[in-house]
Amino acid sequence: SQTIHQWPATLVQPVGSPLSLECTVEGTSNPNLYWYRQAAGRGLQLLFYSVGIGQISSEVPQNLSASRPQDRQFILSSKKLLLSDSGFYLCAWSGLRTGELFFGEGSRLTVL
């Protein structure tokens, strides 16, 4: 069966520090991978998606970047965090074109 994991689950970082959130998928090959950010109790904003290794599409201009060094690994990064980067970050995969998304457990980032 397929599984998806992201870490760390919780992160508290000072403004200006770097960020790296990791997401890995097991049990499937060549998945579409996604990073979403969620404001408290609200909908999800798509940040990045990838249809293959090294292929990243960015949805909104921001302080963040994404990379896909391996087929089942997706990384969200920042060189210098801003207060506005705080939020709940969710990684997801999809095996079908516009099919259902399977989400990781989420990473809560607090920037102080």
Binding site: G43, L44, T98, F103
Partner: protein, 110 residues
């Protein structure tokens, strides 16, 4: 830009009541999905509807896709405390990404 608006934003009801959540857009979607999310966890898919006018039932939950494929509704009959959570609709266009709605937070009191 948020393409999918959900209403109501918050809903607080007693166990046994019925409720309807709406998901509206001016855009046409090839399919629409509904997810439920518990606090501190990722959303979990409830249903996918793909045909205009389609109705799907999942126990006490009834999902409908609008005839023009621009809107959808979720109706819960005899709500239970276990139905508490954040309900999210998500629309798919002919691309590799889903657009999520603004969310409806449901609280069912025993």
């Amino acid at each position: 830009t948020q393409l999918l608006e959900q209403s109501p934003q918050f809903l607080s009801i007693q166990e046994g009541e019925n409720l309807t959540v709406y998901c509206n857009s001016s855009s046409v979607f090839s399919s629409l999905q509904w997810y439920r999310q518990e606090p501190g966890e990722g959303p979990v898919l409830l249903v996918t509807v793909v045909t205009g006018g389609e109705v799907k039932k999942l126990k006490r939950l009834t999902f409908q896709f609008g005839d023009a494929r621009k809107d959808s509704s979720l109706h819960i009959t005899a709500a239970q405390p276990g139905d508490t959570g954040l309900y999210l609709c998500a629309g798919a266009k002919d691309t590799d990404k889903l657009i999520f709605g603004t969310g409806t937070r449901l609280q069912v009191f025993p």
